[in-house]
């Protein structure tokens, strides 16, 4: 059944190339078809695959000279994350690009990012993981720069430098593992098997390098300076995908690292501490942001801090929570950016004080914004709730009451999100949109809202079968 994995990789790739070569309108159609196909395949395997740990796997020799096989596996964690990617990817491709001259590039980059994310999440070999990781970095760089606006030049360069720093650390860790894992294999199973027997310093070094690399990517304090600039200057599609999908590279890496390397409980305590600091820090900084996209960026960072709390608990509850958190966060943050992007398109400027009266003038977008805020905060029946409760159960189980402290960050995030969302309530009746939201935007809202509620109401579809 390797046809499933191959098509999950080939369709976005072929779609990307085709949509770059074709004319604008055709390009949009092709990109959309590719995104829908991927979504259908992933959702179909989630629903009908019966969810064993492995629905499909693909293994083939690739570079025997350095013992790198092509090895992918779909099922369990990778299925959950692929689902997130395909949902967000679909909404992002649908959202499209308003600048006609950029449609082709936008479609190309969006599908390439989807390709890299699918490859990365399905990979079961660190080398393959790394390849897709760097493709994602390069694609995101262009997403920020070529399609962005405002201070995109500085933002893109900063993003690139931070990302390559992360890649370099990852490369260092990968090389150390490659040399010191007895079988010289970077398969997850080999790494996991060897993790206990590595030389102590190498073990510490690899864990530290991976930890920092993934911290940069998530991002986690103090390596987050690239984030707000990148999110706020990328195009709508770009911020949806970078915040929704690319940040998960780091979170997923972190999860995988904890699961494979089984760091000591001291490391877990450090991780909890860092996660808590990061969540609180992001919440406090987010409170002061006047630019709504920057505010959304810090919100996302706080959420990722909470996901890291779940990972640091090193318990299956926490892992499941973190995994579900990634799913929920991907959907809710891209919904937030989609709505903000639509507002930007409709009103030209969305500085915080311009939001007045949106609830009345643009009800669909306004309410979507409200619901996305609540979804971000973990409203029950949305996916975020499942994530939050599992994360904090895991953290409390491992760390006792200290594990509950990061909930305080959630309160702070709530406090300022309510301030933000309240700006759209009162209306002086003067606000008039210069553009109507496109049908594509409305479908995008619908799809993401449906996804977040469906995953929140029917968590058993994904969770019952996952053993972590």
């Amino acid at each position: 059944m390797t046809i499933l994995i191959s098509s999950l990789l080939i369709i976005p790739l072929a779609g990307a190339i085709l949509s770059y070569l074709l004319k604008e309108r055709l390009s949009q159609a092709v990109a959309l078809i590719a995104a829908v196909l991927v979504l259908a395949m992933v959702a179909g395997s989630a629903l009908f695959g019966g969810l064993p740990q492995q629905i499909d796997s693909a293994t083939a020799g690739y570079i025997p000279a350095i013992n790198v096989p092509i090895s992918f596996s779909l099922g369990g964690i990778s299925l959950v994350l692929s689902l997130m990617v395909s949902i967000v990817g679909f909404a992002a491709v649908l959202a499209g690009n308003h600048r006609r001259s950029q449609v082709r590039q936008a479609n190309f980059l969006a599908l390439m990012l989807e390709f890299s994310a699918l490859g990365l999440f399905m990979a079961v070999n660190l080398f393959i993981f790394f390849i897709f990781w760097d493709i994602g970095v390069a694609v995101s760089f262009f997403m920020i720069y070529a399609l962005g606006s405002g201070d995109n030049r500085r933002a893109a360069l900063k993003f690139l430098v931070y990302s390559i720093a992360a890649s370099s650390l990852l490369l260092a860790a990968m090389i150390a593992l490659y040399v010191y894992v007895p079988s010289h294999s970077l398969d997850y199973s080999s790494i996991s098997a060897a993790s206990g027997s590595l030389p102590h310093l190498i073990d510490i070094g690899v864990i530290a390098a991976l930890f920092v690399a993934f911290m940069i990517k998530m991002p986690v304090f103090p390596f987050h300076s690239w984030m707000a600039d990148a999110y706020s200057s990328a195009s709508t599609q770009g911020s949806m995908m970078i915040s929704g999908i690319l940040s998960k590279f780091g979170a997923y890496g972190m999860l995988t690292m904890f699961m494979l390397m089984a760091p000591s409980s001291t490391v877990a305590q450090y991780a909890l501490f860092i996660a808590g600091i990061s969540a609180f820090y992001a919440a406090f900084v987010g409170m002061r942001q006047l630019n709504v996209k920057r505010m959304a960026a810090y919100t996302s960072m706080a959420e990722l801090g909470i996901i890291l709390v779940g990972i640091s608990s090193m318990s299956s509850l926490g892992y499941a929570g973190a995994l579900y958190g990634m799913l929920a966060h991907g959907i809710s943050i891209s919904l937030l950016f989609l709505a903000l992007g639509a507002l930007e398109y409709m009103y030209g400027d969305i500085n915080a004080n311009m939001l007045k009266g949106i609830l009345r003038d643009a009800a669909a977008t306004g309410y979507t914004l409200v619901v996305s805020v609540f979804a971000t905060l973990g409203l029950p029946l949305t996916a975020g709730f499942i994530a939050d409760i599992l994360i904090f159960m895991g953290a409390t189980r491992t760390f006792g009451l200290a594990g509950l402290i990061p909930l305080g960050a959630l309160i702070l995030v709530g406090a300022y999100l309510f301030v933000f969302i309240n700006r759209i309530f009162p209306s002086d009746g003067r606000l008039r949109a210069s553009q109507h939201p496109s049908a594509a935007n409305l479908i995008g809202y619908g799809a993401l809202l449906f996804a977040t509620f469906a995953l929140g109401i029917l968590p058993f579809v994904l969770l019952n079968a996952i053993t972590l």
């Binding site: 406090f284 509850l317 609540f374 159960m393 189980r397 959630l410 709530g414 309510f418 969770l463």
Partner: protein, 582 residues
């Protein structure tokens, strides 16, 4: 895994249908009538459940790592009472709304939000596990938030909505933490299973108490409820007096055995007393017609908690029921009065209130019920609560509260009356029938219920234990009436200066909330400045690379002799450093 639909949530389904219809036909004036009809259907279903057997159902939702998340649905006595209460109040509110909400563009969102709220409230009523309860709990907060901020043309409404959701969200998080702790401790979230399990769970119980206090507007999170009066009158009547705010109290009532076991009863009692005192003192000097009633609601909720704190669940339950039927009409009527008076909300500026007989009779009877005047409304409950107060201090405080509540509600009634003589010429807006019928009907129901309660109590237990407390409560109620008459009716109404701090403590709360917010803001701006600095620091690090630009001057001289010199030096170093054995 499939999800069988438990019977207990059947009354919700018509409401969800109504919500969906309202969302689809957003501008149709008919959605109000449809919602009203659906609320009647839902009432019928709820009545069927009420008369049916008590059930406890538990449905596995999902499981992970040995923890099964169970959705529980109970129809025990308390659940049935709340379910019926909600479903009885709802049609009245919906009927009133059809007269009250007349703007076409408001129809869809109003009814959708109301129906979703009522669904969550019913789900809350029948919840049998913390999980189910929490789902409903957060949706109560969300819908309350949206409905408080319903009037988009009022800045104050948005502000009030934000303040309420911020406080309620605090409670949500506390509840989440409590659930996490309970689940880990007991391995289940089923109410009964937890209550029957041994073990002390003081921390989660305190967290739940805090959450309940946020929802039921108890000290120190009490001030959001008066703000919430910025919402439409039917919303205030439905959510913020008769149903949603009771969720916290209800939860404490359900979990009462655990609080008793953990010895936390006195916490509940004293928080209740403090809150009640704060509320009545505010109510005595407040001028906003609905806010006075909001303080009164806080006081009612405090009294229920006091009853729980005193161990008198019976009294708490009776008050829980009857309060809805006199407080909701008061708020509905306030909406009517405001509508009659051009949306004027200051009781000192309102005339016209007696011009409509039906309305006047309704508010008069409801006021009598609120004041503990025999044999109306709250007399029996307040007497019962007094009777279980063995402590003299508590007893006298309760009497003081009763006196004050009687005074403020008659002040509420009399001030506009006295004013109406002067301002009779004020423009009068006629009211629709749909806005009059619900209030008067509900008041009559409240009378019927209270008479039934008195009859039931006296016939089963005799008058002995409540004779003296009842006498005291009745007397205090009449004294309050007299005081109000003297101060606010016969003479010109006394407008208590707004700076009467001890009474008007709202300002103190405003200031303390504001200070807390400011403290966080200071922290936030420090963090923001740090973040900016960090960013700048990184940039500076990048710029520091420019310092390397000086190196080229050295190494890029373009002069071959320099290059040759370096070649020679390099060679020499190479030989010296690595030709060690030379």
């Amino acid at each position: 895994m499939s999800l069988p639909i438990p019977a207990a949530i059947l009354p919700i389904l018509p409401l969800l249908l109504a919500a969906a219809v309202a969302m689809l036909w957003r501008r149709s004036m008919k959605v109000g009538y449809f919602s009203f009809a659906m609320s009647l259907v839902s009432l019928a279903l709820a009545a069927a459940i009420f008369t049916g057997p008590a059930t406890q159902q538990s449905i596995g939702w999902f499981s992970i790592a040995g923890f099964t998340f169970q959705l529980g649905f109970y129809t025990l006595m308390l659940n049935k009472i709340l379910l019926l209460l909600v479903s009885v109040v709802m049609p009245f509110v919906m009927l009133y709304s059809t007269g009250f909400i007349r703007t076409p563009s408001d129809q869809g969102r109003y009814y959708a939000e109301m129906c979703v709220f009522a669904s969550s409230m019913m789900l809350f009523a029948v919840s049998g596990s913390f999980l189910t309860m929490f789902i409903a709990w957060e949706f109560l907060g969300l819908t309350s938030y949206l409905l408080i901020g319903f009037y988009t043309n009022k800045e104050a409404a948005a502000l009030a909505a934000r303040r309420s959701i911020t406080i309620i969200f605090l409670g949500d998080i506390a509840m989440l933490a409590a659930i996490v702790l309970l689940f880990l401790q007991y391995g289940t979230l089923d109410f009964n299973a937890i209550m029957q399990a041994p073990g002390n769970a003081a921390v989660p119980l305190l967290l739940i108490l805090f959450a309940a206090f946020t929802k039921s507007a108890q000290f120190p999170t009490n001030e959001w409820l008066p703000d919430a009066m910025e919402g439409p009158a039917p919303v205030s009547a439905f959510l913020h007096s008769s149903t949603m705010v009771k969720a916290g109290v209800f939860l404490v009532m359900v979990l009462m055995p655990m609080y008793v076991a953990a010895g936390l009863q006195n916490v509940i009692l004293w928080i209740g007393i403090v809150t009640a005192l704060l509320a009545v003192s505010n109510a005595l000097v407040e001028r906003h017609i609905k806010r006075i009633l909001a303080y009164s609601t806080i006081e009612d909720l405090s009294l229920m908690l006091i009853a729980v704190g005193l161990g008198n669940l019976y009294a708490a339950t009776l008050l829980f029921i009857v309060q809805a039927f006199y407080k909701a009409p008061l708020l509905l009527s306030s909406g009517s009065i405001m509508r009659m008076n051009d949306e004027q909300s200051d009781i000192f500026k309102i005339g016209n209130s007696p011009r409509n007989r039906t309305l006047f009779i309704a508010v008069l009877l409801a006021s009598l019920s609120l004041a503990s005047i025999f044999p109306f409304g709250s007399w029996i409950e307040k007497s019962l609560i007094s009777s279980s107060a063995t402590d003299a201090v508590v007893g006298s405080l309760l009497l003081l509260i009763s006196f004050a509540s009687s005074t403020y509600i008659f002040r509420w009634l009399f001030v506009p009356l006295s004013g109406s003589r002067k301002r009779a010429e004020q423009e009068y807006h006629a009211l629709r029938k749909s806005m009059l019928v619900p209030a008067i009907t509900m008041v009559l129901i409240s009378l019927a219920i209270s008479f039934y309660f008195i009859y039931n109590y006296l016939s089963t237990r005799g008058a002995g234990s409540i004779f003296y407390p009842g006498l005291e409560e009745g007397a205090v109620g009449l004294m309050g009436l007299a005081a109000a008459y003297l101060l606010f009716y016969r003479k010109h109404a006394v407008a208590v200066p707004s700076r009467a701090w001890l009474l008007y403590n709202r300002r103190a709360f405003d200031i303390s909330y504001y200070s807390i917010a400011r403290a966080f803001n200071v922290l936030a701006s420090a963090a923001d400045r740090f973040d900016y600095g960090l960013d700048r620091g990184i940039n500076a690090l990048g710029r520091a690379l420019i310092a390397f630009e000086r190196i080229p001057a050295l190494l890029e001289s373009g002069n071959p002799s320099v290059y040759m010199l370096l070649f020679a030096i390099g060679l020499a170093i190479l030989v010296l450093a690595f030709g060690g054995s030379l």
